[in-house]
């Protein structure tokens, strides 16, 4: 009886030959990720229960990102508390300002993520790292405290849904459009508690970064994890960053899936998800009226990577951000910022009348650096468009790819990037 990649990874981490969906297991954790918002409560819990050590400081990575550079005194105090605690615990991997970045962009970029790992992070988009063939899932602060203390966590082995993506995407159709279409089809709770496994030639054709965009949004369909089997691109990506050993795990041919969903991406068009749920996707070309935007946001753990910035800069280069529209570009990590600078992308943005910030989660979650006022509308390359997500509960967020966001910055209303040629 075959097993999926998810079942195999989980089985290996609880000392079993095989596991089945629905089974409750205690799995050994290879990597634990913490950021600024969810970690302080975990530290308090550990202290309160007299737990003064972590299970293994080398398996813990801390990356303050939500409210950094510290947006106010309270967030400064939070990061300070984590910094001091990390020192006390002997945790070396603390990404301080200057090496900082959005956690899910930074963790794989810095070589922490390896195929076959079990990873937990105190952030819902921890499912991103499944793009490298790891089991990776988001947890809350109590689970984080338990993980830090013991290096283990209980899981219910998830059922797997297999998404087979065939065909070749048209020009200006990207990973973001694929995942918005998948979520439109399955709904925001269509994969609740489940593992979404992706394969097919459309996945093979994507870069590792593009795959991360897809795995990142598995949670927006309610999934526990998103995962893709590693290939040569994955191995090259990892090898460029670390010489640590890893094992490649793949699903068996006769693995069992709760459902198999096939999709041809050839006919897919640029998508935009309307407020206030990520499954409200529509083809941009189908919009019957102009939807003006006050703000364009290009960044986040979904679409703030170098490829994304190249695409956006390609559209903004030599053009101008429309009058009455603000465009904010946030490279997701320091390395991405530097690379974009070397390639002249930051100049393109600034010359076009956009503004570029230091890496931060910032306005993605309505934290700081680009909050929306009542009644304002933003097209954003982020992953969530819930009520009040980027600011006032009376504001609106539309989700799209960097190309669609950049095209909209130029026209001032939600626009099809395919119309930007020439």
């Amino acid at each position: 009886m075959g097993q999926t990649i998810t079942e195999k990874i989980l089985a290996r981490h609880c000392g079993k030959e095989s596991v089945r969906p629905g089974e409750l297991i205690n799995a050994r954790l290879d990597l634990i990720m913490c950021h600024d918002v969810t970690t302080t409560p975990a530290i308090d819990m550990l202290r309160e229960h007299g737990i003064n050590n972590v299970f293994d400081p080398d398996k813990i990575v801390i990356m303050p990102d939500h409210f950094v550079p510290n947006k106010d005194i309270q967030s400064a105090e939070m990061v300070r508390k984590i910094r001091l605690w990390a020192r006390e615990m002997g945790i070396e991997a603390f990404y301080e300002l200057g090496n900082h970045g959005v956690c899910h962009a930074l963790l794989p970029e810095q070589g922490h993520v390896l195929p076959g790992m079990t990873i937990v992070g105190a952030d819902s988009h921890t499912c991103t790292h499944g793009a490298l063939g790891a089991f990776s899932t988001g947890i809350g602060s109590t689970d984080l405290a338990a993980s830090l203390a013991t290096g283990e966590l209980w899981f219910r082995v998830p059922e797997s849904l297999l998404f087979i993506l065939r065909g070749k995407t048209a020009k200006h159709v990207y990973a973001k459009d694929i995942i918005l279409e998948i979520i439109r089809r399955v709904g925001v709770d269509g994969a609740r508690y489940k593992a979404m496994e992706f394969r097919g030639e459309a996945i093979d054709a994507l870069s590792v970064e593009g795959r991360m965009t897809i795995a990142n949004m598995a949670i927006e369909a309610g999934a526990k994890s998103g995962i893709m089997a590693p290939d040569q691109k994955t191995v090259d990506y990892v090898r460029d960053r670390t010489d640590a050993d890893f094992e490649i795990v793949k699903s068996d041919e006769d693995a069992r899936y709760e459902a198999v969903i096939e999709m041809d991406v050839s006919g897919l068009e640029p998508m935009v998800a309307f407020p206030h749920l990520p499954d409200n996707g529509r083809a941009v070309s189908s919009l019957s009226e102009k939807i003006p935007v006050d703000q364009v946001y290009i960044g986040s753990c979904t679409n703030g990577r170098i490829e994304d910035l190249r695409v956006a800069a390609g559209i903004l280069n030599g053009r101008r951000v429309a009058k009455g529209t603000r465009c904010i570009v946030v490279p997701a990590t320091t390395e991405i910022w530097k690379q974009a600078n070397r390639e002249g992308l930051l100049d393109s943005f600034m010359e076009a009348g956009a503004t570029v910030s230091t890496p931060t989660c910032g306005a993605c979650l309505g934290g700081h650096m680009g909050i929306l006022a009542n009644g304002e509308r933003c097209i954003s390359t982020t992953n969530r468009n819930f009520v009040g997500r980027m600011g006032h509960p009376g504001s609106e967020v539309y989700l799209a790819s960097p190309a669609t966001a950049a095209a909209s910055a130029v026209t001032g209303y939600i626009s099809d990037p395919r119309k930007m040629e020439g």
């Binding site: 952030d123 809350g140 309505g366 009040g388």
Partner: protein, 159 residues
């Protein structure tokens, strides 16, 4: 326990406790803003021991456990919903806070109804019309966590 009914599906953690308050992590501070973006008067309406009733996928979105603390801090003792988002559900159990999954409940209970919950029997009763609804009792390991008052007290026993 009085039911505060929100018939919607997909009530998310951004609504339960908006990110603008995540620079705080004390339950009492968070409680002042519970459900603020859905219902401005929520915190004034709730009395200690009340419950929330809602539709599908309650608590979807971010992993912020602040959502559980905000509700608990506001006096809520249980959320009863058609279904829950995964991380929120875990967070509830880990805090010893009741998340009761009961299909169809979001459309059945009237706002303000008095509710009684029998955990062992897996049954909740709407006292205003004596109608009863069955739910699947918690699995043993979850019940153990709930009984211990949360995951950490449970762990401490193990450590």
């Amino acid at each position: 326990m009085k039911a505060h009914v929100y018939r919607r599906d997909h009530i998310n953690t951004d609504e339960i406790i908006p990110a603008r308050y995540l620079n705080m992590d004390r339950e009492a501070d968070l409680a002042k803003h519970a459900m603020e973006d859905i219902d401005k008067d929520f915190v004034h309406k709730v009395e200690s021991g009340d419950v929330i009733v809602a539709g599908e996928n309650f608590g979807c979105g971010s992993s912020r456990e602040h959502a559980v603390w905000a509700l608990r801090g506001a006096g809520i003792t249980a959320v009863i919903a058609d279904s829950f988002a995964r991380i929120f559900y875990r967070n509830c159990i880990n805090n010893g806070f009741l998340a009761i999954e009961c299909k169809g409940i979001g459309k059945s209970i009237e706002n303000g109804a008095e509710i009684a919950i029998d955990l062992k029997a897996g049954r909740l009763t709407d006292l205003s019309n004596a109608k009863a609804y069955d739910f699947t009792p918690f699995p043993e390991f979850a019940q153990n966590i709930l009984d211990a008052g949360g995951l950490l007290p449970c762990l401490k026993v193990k450590l």
